[in-house]
């Protein structure tokens, strides 16, 4: 009896210390989403998909005007014709994506066979290469067309990143992404969370900072500053550079793991790509 009591106390004491370290991805999602729900109590949860326009009324007004004539429309149209055009070997994207173009909600996904995170952009290039086509560049150019079309066809699905329990490497990739997210970087010594958690909704020079939850749902994005549609990894590049850190290669392991973690925190938020931003 006494032993049992001691054992119970020991277990309790240990769990006090262990818990924060071994918090599961599901615990984390709750933690992050609750943080933003509390920070922005008057915002409907699904509104987070609209980034900064969910939290700033004035910017939202300009944005709604822009969305009346969506600047990404020609990209979606070009992407549709890419989807419908056969590769030189007679096959097409449809042979790689069994669920059709509306497959974005399945990515980023863990591939047990390849032992890595597969993003939609990577899957597109793997499809091309398997069929003898040249891979597309990952930040600018036609990859945004096919991504825009697939995002458009996936609208209304919910973010649902899965971290399969049967392969510990998947959880490891998630943890790598999480560590990346909370690591201070660059001459300014900022982590992503400095801007997109504790300063979300606040001004940074001429920008208002968007909350981290919901940041992954709208890609690819037409940005006025870019004058075109660009990928999520292009945005990661920009945010790394802002703090004067050297960016990492688009679709390299760092950004893919980051995307895995970063998208997972928006589980349950609606997909609404492509979208437009300042």
């Amino acid at each position: 009896m006494k032993n049992a009591l001691i054992a119970t106390v020991l277990v309790l004491v240990c769990s006090l210390f262990v818990q924060p370290l071994s918090a599961s991805p599901e615990d984390n999602v709750r933690l992050y989403q609750d943080y933003f729900k509390k920070r922005f109590p008057n915002i409907d949860f699904q509104e987070f998909a609209n980034g900064v326009y969910a939290v700033n009324a004035q910017l939202r007004e300009n944005w709604e005007a822009i969305e009346e004539f969506p600047p990404y429309e020609p990209f979606v149209e070009r992407g549709e014709s890419m989807w419908n055009t056969a590769f030189a070997n007679g096959k097409s994207y449809a042979d790689c994506f069994q669920n059709g173009p509306g497959s974005k909600h399945l990515y980023p996904q863990w591939s047990k066979e390849q032992g890595k995170v597969i993003t939609l952009a990577l899957a597109i290039n793997q499809c091309r290469e398997a069929n003898g086509e040249k891979p597309l560049k990952y930040k600018k150019g036609p990859i945004n067309d096919i991504l825009a079309y697939m995002a458009y066809e996936s609208r209304g699905q919910l973010t649902n990143v899965v971290i399969p329990a049967d392969d510990p490497r998947a959880l490891e990739a998630y943890k790598q992404g999480k560590e990346f997210y909370f690591t201070r970087r660059g001459q300014l010594n900022f982590s992503c969370s400095h801007c997109h958690f504790s300063s979300s909704g606040m001004n940074l020079r001429s920008d208002v900072l968007s909350p981290a939850v919901g940041q992954t749902t709208g890609w690819p994005v037409y940005r006025s500053k870019w004058g075109t549609v660009g990928t999520l990894h292009r945005r990661y590049t920009g945010c790394n550079k802002q703090v004067r850190a050297k960016p990492f290669p688009a679709q390299g392991e760092e950004y893919r793991n980051l995307e895995y973690f970063h998208t997972h925190m928006s589980n349950g938020v609606v997909l609404n790509g492509p979208s437009s931003r300042k």
């Binding site: 924060p20 933690l31 943080y35 999480k178 909370f182 690591t183 001459q187 958690f197 050297k246």
Partner: protein, 110 residues
């Protein structure tokens, strides 16, 4: 002025000129070597910072500019830039290594 004096003067001036060019050549050779050492140290520091994902944004640019300045003979500028690159790499390396395996939730998320 006597012819002799003229010769003496001319020879003083020429020796001076010869000496000083030699001296300058020595100085610039020394600067060259010093800069080369600093540059290779800076590049090694860059590699090291990069190996832990800690390189800062402008290091590559500073190094390029340093090499250009050295090529133009402006060793003061070249040295300044290379030194800046090296220091930033050392700081970036420390920054990354000090957080490896530790970076996690800030206090407001605990």
């Amino acid at each position: 002025m006597g012819v002799l004096l003229k010769y003496i003067l001319i020879s003083i001036v020429t020796t001076g000129m010869l000496l000083s060019t030699g001296l300058f050549a020595d100085v610039s050779a020394a600067e060259d070597a010093e800069f080369a050492t600093l540059l290779s140290e800076a590049k090694a520091a860059q590699k090291k910072a990069n190996s832990v994902g800690g390189e800062w944004r402008d290091v590559g640019k500073f190094l390029k500019q340093a090499e250009q300045a050295a090529a133009d003979g402006d060793f003061e500028k070249a040295t300044k830039l290379a030194q800046k690159a090296k220091t930033q790499c050392e700081l970036g390396y420390e920054q990354a290594v000090s957080q490896k395996g530790k970076a996690g939730h800030p206090s407001y998320l605990q």
